[in-house]
């Protein structure tokens, strides 16, 4: 394993740790947490600190150390979770996230001085002492460097670029560890000398004073030992263990091998002078009940790596699996077609194979499915920043965060979601004073929800703010030349003008929503994913952004149509209906433009053959098949020669396999082995409308 791979695992663990911290912090803030909540936060931060030390991310380690100090005081009830302190913890959490991000990207460390100072003040406040010795950046005694500095130093020395994975050692000396002058501390010193660092000290089994048997060792440790140390050498260090000692040595991978346990209960490998001296003075060791040591290994940070409930798989492997399954689906379709040509298309085995392939495909896709939680968890921070930037107060409600979608979709929800949230807070919600004046609570509500709806994921962001002032939007759109002054638009159409290029409703473009990307760009990006974004609003009551995306980008339901000698796929998400017009229902405007009266609406007809330059396609609408499609620019009609089929197709990227082509969103391989291109309906319709507008203007 390469160092960067181990680091990748570390950063994954950081991500999980940060999510844990944030969830539990929210519980503390809402008063829902108990002692274990703080413990959970502490452990997560502690793990991040430990890993940061092992990899030499000094700023991250230093910051998490300070945060950990405060958390520790909180967990031992030396500090109490006042709203101020919780606010500080949230601020520190944000900085911690930035630290992780900068460690990952190799960028400069974030400015953390202000928060660090507050953390130190909080720690010393709780300690009723001016400062925390371990937090003072320079120790008085040069030899007594801080633990994190030492760790980082060790990591630098012992983890060259090609270093193997560090060992994870869980070490519980057992009750009898102090017998005959034994002491685990010298062993820890030896481990420290070879570059190990203590990830955690396990005090779970340590009794309180009244129940403490001073001569029984109830401590346990989890250590990270540089992978450069040979396993045999590491095991040798633990050779002389008293009865009842439990040692597990594992790499970061899921294997846990118990180290051979020594049977000799007598001597430690290298008794320190102190321990040796003690053994002379000590009374005869009492008969320690060596039979009942806690057999479990330390269920702490290290336990995560050895858990068997989940495994980590590289995304590349998963992508390869999904791709292969896609090929299998295509091959299955080809086989079915070939067999049906020979009159044996109805055999049971073929339909079994069909079912199996579908199940396999679904399973493969579900492996890639992830809850949208990973994206939703970023929202509280965005809200906090917005609150700080605008002076507004926001209560966030989240629903459906466990809704699963394909990883590729999850990755691409983030940007539109951020814009929706920014817009809701920045443009939607009023200032606390205005809200009170309008008879609303001073705190605005933003509701974030996700759900599956007919094979798509729908994410909505609602606020209870001022809503969209359609009169103002309309005036602005006229002023900007986006619509004609006498245009006849419904309220819904006016509201959706905010997605028009060059439109901004805020009186002054703030640096919050106006981060250089307009809603038009957001809409375009969403459309590129086969999704839609829209807004509905009630003036004075609030607005709701709705983002609809396919569950996966790898498979799509399509209508297979023929145009000339070519076969195309129209994504079913766009298709409203298909019809064959009677002669005379189609009205022509000049040689190129035609419309059809569909129940009172005149919809433009787009001849796909002519748009894509396909020879031999049907030119006469009355002889063709017309497919009504829904787009963001309203309904239009695609004219094709005929409909062949309606089915799921495996999407192959044109960008990856050839080059992007305007008007086409991808390709697929059909059952007979031919390639069919997938139409990008939005672009086709927009292009046609643009052409028409140009034609009319000319």
């Amino acid at each position: 394993m390469q160092l960067d791979e181990i680091q990748a695992i570390f950063f994954q663990e950081c991500e999980e740790g940060l999510a844990t911290v944030e969830t539990n912090l929210a519980e503390v803030r809402d008063g829902a947490g108990d002692g274990e909540t703080i413990n959970t936060i502490f452990r997560a931060v502690h793990s991040i600190k430990g890993g940061a030390g092992a990899f030499g991310f000094e700023p991250l380690q230093c910051f998490s150390h300070h945060l950990e100090t405060v958390l520790d005081l909180l967990r031992t009830r030396e500090l109490s979770a006042t709203p101020d302190l919780v606010g500080l913890l949230f601020a520190a959490f944000d900085v911690l996230s930035d630290h992780v991000a900068s460690a990952q990207s190799g960028g400069p460390a974030p400015a953390d001085a202000a928060v660090l100072a507050r953390l130190e003040a909080a720690a010393s406040g709780g300690a009723e002492q001016p400062a925390d010795a371990s937090a003072v950046p320079v120790a008085e005694d040069g030899a007594e460097e801080m633990d994190f500095d030492l760790d980082a130093l060790m990591a630098d020395i012992d983890l060259p670029a090609e270093a193997p994975a560090p060992w994870h050692v869980a070490f519980r000396p057992g009750r009898a560890a102090f017998d005959n002058g034994g002491d685990p501390l010298p062993l820890l010193r030896e481990l420290e000398a070879i570059g190990a660092s203590v990830l955690s000290l396990d005090l779970d089994a340590l009794p309180r004073l009244h129940a403490l048997a001073v001569d029984e060792c109830m401590l346990g440790w989890t250590l990270a030992v540089p992978g450069t140390i040979a396993r045999a050498d590491l095991e040798a260090l633990f050779d002389f263990m008293p009865d009842g000692a439990v040692v597990t040595i594992a790499t970061h991978e899921a294997t846990v091998d118990p180290a051979p346990e020594a049977t000799a209960p007598t001597l430690r490998a290298t008794p320190a002078p102190a321990a040796a001296a003690a053994s002379k003075d000590a009374p005869v060791a009492p008969a320690a009940p060596a039979a009942s040591p806690p057999p479990a290994t330390v269920p702490d940070d290290g336990g995560k790596a050895s858990g068997s409930a989940t495994i980590r798989v590289e995304l590349d492997k998963l992508d390869r699996l999904v791709n292969l399954v896609g090929e299998l689906v295509i091959t299955q379709a080809m086989l079915a077609q070939r067999l049906s040509l020979h009159g044996v298309g109805a055999i049971d085995e073929l339909s079994d194979l069909d079912h199996l392939t579908r199940d396999l495909q679904e399973s493969a896709m579900s492996i890639r499915a992830q809850p949208v939680k990973s994206v939703f968890s970023r929202v509280p921070r965005i809200i906090r920043e917005l609150e700080a930037g605008t002076g507004k107060r926001v209560r966030l409600e989240v629903e459906g965060e466990m809704t699963e979608v394909d990883k590729t979709v999850v990755e691409r929800i983030g940007e539109p979601l951020t814009h929706m949230i920014r817009n809701a807070v920045d443009h939607g919600l009023e200032s606390p004073e205005d809200r009170v004046a309008a008879g609303k609570p001073a705190e605005g509500a933003v509701r974030l929800a996700a759900e599956h709806r007919s094979g798509r994921i729908v994410i909505s962001v609602s606020d209870d703010g001022r809503g969209i002032d359609t009169a103002k939007v309309r005036a602005k759109a006229v002023e900007r030349g986006i619509i004609a002054p006498d245009a006849n638009l419904s309220n819904e159409e006016i509201e959706n003008l905010i997605f028009a290029p060059g439109f901004s409703t805020a009186a002054t473009v703030s640096n919050i929503s106006g981060r250089g990307v307009g809603m038009d760009v957001v809409r375009r990006n969403v459309q590129a994913l086969g999704g839609r974004i829209g807004i509905t609003s009630v003036f004075g009551k609030g607005s709701t952004f709705t983002l609809t995306l396919p569950l996966t980008l790898a498979i799509l339901d399509g209508m297979v149509v023929s145009v000339g000698a070519q076969t195309y796929v129209i994504p079913l998400a766009h298709v409203v209906e298909s019809l064959r017009p009677q002669a005379g229902e189609v009205r022509r405007f000049g040689p190129d433009a035609a419309v059809l009266d569909v129940r009172g609406d005149y919809l433009p007809i787009l001849p796909v053959g002519r748009l894509l330059g396909v020879e031999g396609s049907c030119a006469e609408a009355s002889a063709a098949v017309l497919i009504v499609v829904e787009t963001d620019a309203g309904q239009s009609i695609l004219m094709v020669d005929g409909i062949q089929d309606q089915r799921q197709v495996v999407v192959k990227s044109l960008e990856a396999n050839y080059a992007p082509v305007a008007g086409l969103s991808g390709a697929t391989v059909l059952g007979d082995g031919r390639v069919a291109l997938i139409l990008d309906v939005e672009t086709l319709v927009q292009r046609q409308r643009g052409d028409l507008a140009l034609g009319l203007a000319a």
């Binding site: 005694d141 560890a177 002491d183 401590l219």
Partner: protein, 87 residues
């Protein structure tokens, strides 16, 4: 509040001898660690137990003037937080 003074040799023997002293303390525990020259895990364990016991009762354990040896041992054992409240 009289500090509990740790001996130069803070090992199992010393820990056994000091346990009752710690048990007798009501309220915050103050520990004088200036004289410590050698530390055993049994000593650290006693401090850790005392700290947890005090914390449960809403009190603190403070080590004033921990010696270099005590600081080093605490950090080696991952118990640096013992020193967190000192000066």
């Amino acid at each position: 509040m009289t500090p509990v003074t740790l001996p130069a040799m803070f090992d199992l023997t010393a820990a056994t001898a000091l346990a009752d002293t710690f048990r007798a303390v009501r309220g915050p525990i103050v520990v004088d660690g200036a004289a410590v020259e050698r530390v055993g895990a049994a000593g650290l364990q006693l401090l850790l137990s005392a700290r947890a016991t005090a914390a449960e009762a809403g009190h603190r354990l403070t080590i004033i003037t921990p010696s270099a040896a005590l600081q080093a041992a605490a950090r080696t054992a991952g118990a640096g937080f013992l020193l967190a409240a000192d000066v």
